[in-house]
Symmetry: C2
Subunit: 302 residues, 2 copies
Amino acid sequence: MASEGDDELEVSNKQVILKIYVTGSPKESDMYVSSNGTLSLKVPEGTNGVVVKNLYMSCDPYVLIQLKKPDSNSSKPPILKMFKIQHTNVPLSYYTGILGMPGLTAYCGFHEVCSPKKGEHVFISAASGAVGQLVGQFAKLFGCSVFGSAGSKDKELVCLTRVGSLTNQHFFSKIFSNKVDLLKNKLNFDKAFNCKEEPDLDAALKRYFPEGIDIYFDNVGGKMLDVVLLNMRAHGHIAACGMISQCNLDKPEGVHNLMHLVLKHVNIEGFVTYVYVHLFPKFLDLVLPHIAEGKIVYVEHS
Amino acid sequence: MASEGDDELEVSNKQVILKIYVTGSPKESDMYVSSNGTLSLKVPEGTNGVVVKNLYMSCDPYVLIQLKKPDSNSSKPPILKMFKIQHTNVPLSYYTGILGMPGLTAYCGFHEVCSPKKGEHVFISAASGAVGQLVGQFAKLFGCSVFGSAGSKDKELVCLTRVGSLTNQHFFSKIFSNKVDLLKNKLNFDKAFNCKEEPDLDAALKRYFPEGIDIYFDNVGGKMLDVVLLNMRAHGHIAACGMISQCNLDKPEGVHNLMHLVLKHVNIEGFVTYVYVHLFPKFLDLVLPHIAEGKIVYVEHS
């Protein structure tokens, strides 16, 4: 609510404040809501400051890392410049997803970290997530065969997609029987499986990849990574994007099969997206026409 | 013992035959010695075959991998060509060590896998081994600061070095109080420590590397790798050369801290040396003058 004074405009400013660093899963008691503050909308004179209003917020797994106590040796992100949105013929919310950090993560993680070659077998875990769904589509467009796993419970999903321009948006909803259905029938994956339904993950991967895995895009870490190591092909690449299965554990699970890195000349590369922020214009040039032509779709809520 | 016939020369041919694939540590019962065979020294007519006599054999950790059941996805080495030794002003045995597979492994592992920059902090485990001692010396010559760990029991070592040419060799022996002494006082490491004497490895690494580790050359895997992950610097490199601490275990230990790959944009690259065999001439050009000038030394037995 804005109240206009002589010199400045003040608005109420609802804030969610982190009380303590989160350990394990985030709890409501880790934070509190403050409604008391007000914020001046006047930019201090003589500065190039701007006042920002949040319209959309993306609830990424990455946010959890920000809520936890930082490691002193962690990679320090540079200050990201704000930029004016030039392409307005897409829904505004896309800039928190396919055209934002998750999109750039998928693009750079696949093209810069995985060193893909046409025809290679790509496996993606948490494949229906904000990043995974795009990695799969980029890999398909590049000419790879794409397999995804999801840890879906077998329930119906109402999947919303948003189309149209910034000022003229439409929503479409479609029902999928589960995430595996979504991967195969909306996101164009060659194969997909529910890892929660596989009693023997190693046997499942050997069945899905009789020739082995060339590229593994890892969003989950832990047991899945361990079993993938057994099934990597010589000279394969693993992009370690996230390890969501481990985030809420007090002590991460052990990965036992790292000797396969040596035996098969395989690398695991952890990466943080801000390193590739200079590639953002190149990324937009690639992805915007694909969105316009419907060759890439983006599921915001499922 | 050779016996000359009309057409061919036959010799007795003592063989060590592997009976079954080794599991865990190799046991004498895994193999047997056969003294019954004879071998014709006549090369079949019309072929370019050669008859080979073993003069030296290197007992590398790599041999253990060859004795174990091969993984169907393992990297398949190409047939290595035999070559005539051109440089005879070094002891012949060097071609099984510093000028052979361990030397090329150290050179390529450091220069091709670790992407080193001058001034970086390099940590090497099993640093007094056939490969480790050379990685340390290459890293020093390149301009890095070099730290090594050894799992030495605190006992005196008689260290033999061989100098001179193929036909005129001399041995020098020198006594070191232990492997740490050897690393610091013969192999020119900046610092070295005995990992078996450190009750808290993480605390030890934080003490030795207050700014973190840029490059870790891993010969041991397991617990050491796990603790190093906590102490890597952002954008660091880990070369996974071997995991000797795990070789004799029925089930390898778990590595828990892989999330640090993501947090710090670190990569682990497993590698097999045969991939770099085309670099052998370049490697010889680098290392032979260093041997001649005494800038690189090689400890064959310690």
